[in-house]
């Protein structure tokens, strides 16, 4: 199998936000890459920095946030050097985003048609007829019946599932190379969730796109991801091919998360679920060592000063922990250096 063409390559991305108590570090140096037709899933709990990561790719960070990065290469363009005007060309054009809340991310005072056509006319050509045809074509593609009459409807006239389909159609208006989907199905019913994920996978294949899917639902990750990146407190704690991460989770946080969810057929009724005790740490100020140490069952003295070197487990699977690969595989504590 040939390696897919890399669309996006990000190295050492950091986001700092000055707050009254000091500097908040929500994203503290993460690296990833996405290839064509490849799906990268970023998993983590609220506050781990996954949404800010996607916003910083799109240049949608809050004004006072400071983004630094060693490399942010998107199809040969360095995103970190672009001006706001140049970024606006890419955003919605070759890089598009699907937001979490289809209820709030569509403008209630414009028709669906108006909002879809605007994207096309802004990025491709000011030709309303062509824009309208493209909108109808895509609405049909995402499985909306009577597409032409839908164009005159307002968002409140559509159900949640339909609105999310409209959001997907809107992201596809200019034939993007990369789609960033931030919790695209969280607000939807399970049946609709399966349909939307199915649709995204089909469209990705058809339009040759790369996809970054941000979610906290491990069920979704397992089913759609090629590569997984587990984030905790602004850092990647484990990454690798989907099958490896789910079959052999190596970081204590990933292991804990997988024990937390009830799985039909595996967990018995009434049995206690595993849990990750404690809460997410405060990310203000000078942060040292592993941020997971106060919730970790394997934590030792070395965790307070550990660096960010990832331990490779082969095949691109890596984790960041004081335990060696062998210790992690066998579920042992790190041996303290004398």
């Amino acid at each position: 199998m040939t390696k897919p063409e890399t669309i996006l390559d990000v190295q050492n991305l950091k986001v700092d936000i000055p707050v009254s108590a000091g500097v908040l570090h929500p994203v503290r140096g993460i690296s990833f890459s996405v290839g064509r037709r490849e799906t990268l899933c970023i998993v983590g709990e609220s506050g781990c920095g996954k949404s800010l990561t996607s916003f910083s790719l799109m240049g949608l960070l809050p004004k006072k946030a400071i983004r630094t990065t060693d490399k942010m290469d998107f199809l040969g363009t360095d995103l970190s050097t672009l001006s706001e005007r140049e970024m606006a060309e890419i955003r919605g054009g070759s890089m598009a985003m699907i937001f979490q809340e289809p209820m709030t991310s569509l403008n209630p005072s414009y028709t669906i048609g108006n909002q879809l056509e605007e994207v096309y006319m802004r990025h491709i050509e000011r030709n309303r007829k062509a824009a309208r045809d493209r909108a109808v074509y895509l609405l049909e593609k995402v499985g909306i019946t009577a597409a032409r009459s839908r164009l005159n409807q307002y968002p409140h006239q559509l159900s949640g599932g339909l609105r999310q389909r409209v959001m997907i159609a809107m992201a596809l208006m200019c034939g993007p190379d990369l789609i960033i989907a931030d919790e695209p199905t969280t607000a939807l019913d399970v049946t609709i969730q399966a349909q939307i994920l199915h649709l995204l996978a089909e469209l990705q294949e058809e339009f040759d796109m790369g996809m970054i899917l941000i979610t906290h639902d491990l069920g979704i990750v397992a089913r759609v991801a090629d590569k997984v990146q587990v984030m905790y407190a602004g850092k990647t704690v484990e990454e690798g091919p989907c099958i490896d991460v789910f079959d052999n989770p190596l970081h204590p946080y990933t292991q804990g998360l997988l024990r937390c969810i009830p799985v039909p057929g595996k967990t018995r009724r009434g049995q206690r679920l595993g849990s990750v005790p404690g809460i997410v740490p405060n990310l203000v100020g000078d942060l040292q060592g592993c941020m997971f140490r106060n919730r970790c069952e394997y934590a030792g003295a070395a965790c307070e000063t550990m660096g960010h070197q990832a331990t490779q487990a082969g095949g691109g699977h890596a984790f960041t922990c004081t335990r060696t690969l062998d210790e992690a595989r066998r579920g042992l504590r790190a041996v303290e250096a004398a």
């Binding site: 599932g161 049946t191 399966a194 069920g219 089913r223 991460v245 789910f246 024990r259 849990s275």
Partner: protein
């Protein structure tokens, strides 16, 4: 004689009059359409279904917040009409989905949890603090949070406060409406464990409303599947999850995404469109989305078929012969 169920609805219907627009007439919307559901003492009954199927309306009726248009609600075998709001609230308490909006942001945790005691004028106000601390301990919160405000707490802690408030009156039944769907996975498991511990410790009965079927399977003894105001399948959890009968239940179960990296995204074969409840389809209301639709489905409403405690409302299962043929 058998012990009466802690909570039971008999053929409950709830109809709303929905305006069709300015100067246009109103149309009836049957949010709950003839539901009979028993919640036996000490059990967990799961209620699943898509948004708009009437789950929350049913919960409101059970809580006494909404008067049913027809039918009866029985508490321990007694008709709810003989109780007033306060009596109902003593027996049945809710836990809502969103702990961010269900707690008053201007009150301290202590006053939030003790409010039911105040309303029901239970005991001496000097004992309330003691009861609040006892409750905090039961739900696993430290005493020091008593004087904090909801905004100072995390989502999981707030949900614990909501649970403490629901339990301080020692109700018999707790109605949990999506208790964990606003929470992170690691917090979700803590809350589910807590609910399970409290059930055994305090002998509670739960109605668990959720769209997360994995959670329902983990918690529930019996499960009812609701579609457009009707219960289309109801059975012991084992029976329902092992051998689902109604095509809708099967589609729901198929859409559960278990964390198995070797499986792809399932295709549920359900059409995208949830029908408009103001204008429900003729015959079986599920027939436009059903993969196993037969001619009779669009004309006649199916009637419930019960076999060994497993209720199904589908034309494929109306008689014993059809049931055998469908399998």
């Amino acid at each position: 004689m058998r012990e009466p169920a802690a909570l039971e609805t008999v053929d409950v219907t709830c109809t709303f009059q929905v305006s069709q627009g300015f100067m246009k007439g109103k149309k009836p919307l049957r949010a709950v359409n003839g539901v009979s559901l028993k919640i036996p003492k000490g059990q967990v009954v799961g209620l699943v279904g898509e948004s708009g199927c009437g789950k929350s309306t049913l919960a409101n009726i059970l809580l006494g917040l909404q008067k049913p248009t027809a039918g009866d609600v029985l508490y321990n075998g007694q008709n709810s009409a003989t109780f007033n709001r306060r009596d109902v609230a003593r027996r049945i308490q809710p836990i809502f989905q969103d702990p961010y909006s269900s707690l008053n942001p201007t009150k301290t945790i202590k006053s939030i949890i003790s409010l039911p005691l105040k309303i029901h004028e239970v005991g001496d106000p000097s004992e309330w603090d003691k009861k609040v601390y006892e409750m905090l301990d039961i739900v696993g919160l430290p005493k020091r949070v008593a004087n904090s405000y909801p905004s100072q707490m995390s989502g999981g802690q707030r949900q614990r406060v909501a649970i403490a408030r629901a339990l301080i009156m020692r109700p018999e039944v707790v109605i949990c409406d999506e208790p964990t769907s606003a929470l992170d996975v690691s917090v979700q498991s803590q809350i589910l464990n807590l609910l399970q511990d409290l059930k055994t410790e305090l002998g509670l009965t739960y109605l668990l409303i959720s769209h997360n079927l994995a959670v329902v399977e983990h918690m529930a003894d019996r499960v009812a599947v609701m579609y457009l105001g009707r219960i289309v399948e109801e059975a012991e959890a084992d029976s329902l999850f092992r051998s689902p009968r109604h095509p809708y239940t099967r589609a729901l179960l198929d859409s559960v995404l278990t964390p198995d990296p070797r499986l792809g995204v399932p295709d549920t074969h359900l059409g995208a469109v949830f029908p408009n409840p103001i204008d429900p389809p003729s015959g079986c209301s599920f027939h436009p989305r059903c993969a196993q639709c037969i001619p009779i489905c669009s004309d006649d409403k199916p009637s419930p078929f019960v076999d060994a405690g497993h209720l199904t409302e589908c034309h494929l299962y109306e008689t014993e012969d059809q049931r055998v043929a469908a399998q």
